[in-house]
């Protein structure tokens, strides 16, 4: 079973934090700091799941999500959105799905990250598929 998980985030600290959590829980973290590199990684490494920072500058997160969901080869890879915005305002959902043009993401993780919750969410998503 493919346990590779791709972290796409422009902040190196966030990549380090997420990588440590994943490594400690038996996953293989790989990472990219922008959407373009992220898509290259998706195609070459075929990760089982993607942790995507939606708030990356230059629309990087939103653009990558769109590309993932519109490509037959990648649209079934579960995507967990990492966000600093408190959920409930509908802001993120709207931004991610482009107003229901795209399917909703498989999960959300809010910063500051709670390592146990992250692990449980990833575990549930991967065992369910």
């Amino acid at each position: 079973m493919n346990k590779k998980i791709l972290i796409v985030d422009d902040e190196p600290e966030q990549i380090d934090f997420a990588s440590t959590i994943l490594e400690e829980n038996g996953y293989i973290p790989i990472s990219a700091t922008n959407g373009m590199d992220g898509m290259k990684m998706v195609r070459s490494e075929k990760p089982a799941l993607i942790l995507l920072d939606i708030m990356m500058p230059r629309q990087g997160g939103v653009g990558m999500y769109r590309e993932l969901k519109q490509d037959e080869a990648t649209k079934d890879i579960p995507v967990v959105i990492v966000t600093g915005v408190t959920r409930g305002g509908g802001f993120d959902e709207h931004m991610v799905t482009q107003g229901d043009e795209l399917p909703a993401p498989d999960g959300y993780i809010e910063k500051p990250m709670n390592p146990d919750a992250v692990v449980k969410l990833i575990h549930d998503l991967l065992s369910g598929s």
Partner: protein
Amino acid sequence: MSKILVIDDEESIRTLLKVSLSHKGYEVILAEDGESGIKAFRASRPPIVITDIKMPGMDGIEVLKHIKQVDPDTRIIVITGHGEMEAAIEALQLEASDFINKPVTDEALSVALKRAEEVLWMKQKLRKYTTSLEAMVEEATQELRAAHDFQKNLIESSIDGIIAADERKRVVVFNDGAARLLGYRADEAIGKMTIEQFFPSKVARKIIALMEGDAQTGTERLVNYEGVVRSRDAEEIPVRISGATLFENGYANGMVCFLQDLREIKRLQRELIESERVSAMGQAVAGMAHYIKNILNGLQGGVYMVNTAMKKNKPDLMTKGWAMVENNIGKISDLVMNMLIYSKEREPDYVPCQPNDIAEEVYDLMREKAIQSRVRLVKDFDPSISECFLDPTGPHRCLLNLVANAIDACIFDPQEDKQWVVTIRTRREPDFVRFDVIDNGIGMTEEVRKKVFERFFSTKGGRGTGLGLLVTRKIIDEQGGRISFESQPGQGTTFTMRFPARPTASVTTGGLA
């Protein structure tokens, strides 16, 4: 046809006159003595009466008196005999219109009648004229009254307070609006108070002076002046005042002023400001919470990594985690510093220092962040800058904020293939030390340029608090400096700060080292 009454006791004269007058077109009534003459007069009211003076019984004078009593306008021609001049004079004194001597000639009669007719015609015309004049006066009066009522209604029903005063400033008009605004009844104000009494004394003097103005230049009016009135309860009420001096034949004979109650408007303004303040604070708090959450994430990440490193004995992870903790503690202290600077007034503490050293410190502090962000950080320091009196914490904090912004402007620039550069430049100017921070990042749109110094405005989402430039500006203001910027979208931004800097006394100008 005009009637004429002939009173004479001599039948021959009556007959003669009847023939002659009928021939002239009169309807003739005859009477043979005074009594019957009066009776006939009362019955048919002829405008002209011809009467003999000397008659048995009631004589002509008596007849004259009677008729004049009944109708003073009646023209009465008396017929006098030889030697009756005195009676004739008496008759004229009693307002007989004419007299004819006996024997009555047709010519004399015609002249007398013509004169009588003329007078009658004149009188009639005069009467007609007088009557129509009265009607005209009545009509004009009614119009005037209507106009007056209209004006009065206009004044009375006006929502604004209207007060007019005579040349001694005594109140002559005080409408309902004024009564509502000021709390006095009209009957308490009119004739008993002066216009000055409705204003606090200082305001009154100013307003009266403005209304009186300068008659020469024609500025004797006051338009939309915002001031206050003083109500009966000594409340000072904000009003908009318009007023003017009134003139009659070139002389000032009073003044009028219109008072618009501004309490409601002021209340709404206060509410608006308050709601804006609350919403700005809400935005600020939300922005700050957001920013702090990011820091918290970094701290938790660092702690998690340190804990994991200790459990698994991984020194590399330990170093990384600890650096993360330190970095985020740095961010928190930066935030707290900015918050404190923003919230407190601070007297600058001027000490001798070297501006280039300040810039160098900032360069060292920001170099790591620049490298991580693929931005080249460049120093361009003016070597001729010598030591001078500055409060170094000011430029230090401001430069730190501006360089951090410049790097962010590069991070947010969507042109992926660009080589980003941020330059810290120092220059000596006659009375100032100038610091420039130049980037070739995303640049600002006009909308952003306008909002740059607004409270808690940020283009960085969760990565910014909107405090940086606010604090920078505040520090520069406190130190008597200046800040400006130029920016083009896609081209980059240059911020320029100037701090006033006296050279230290011991150092000679030039500072050529």
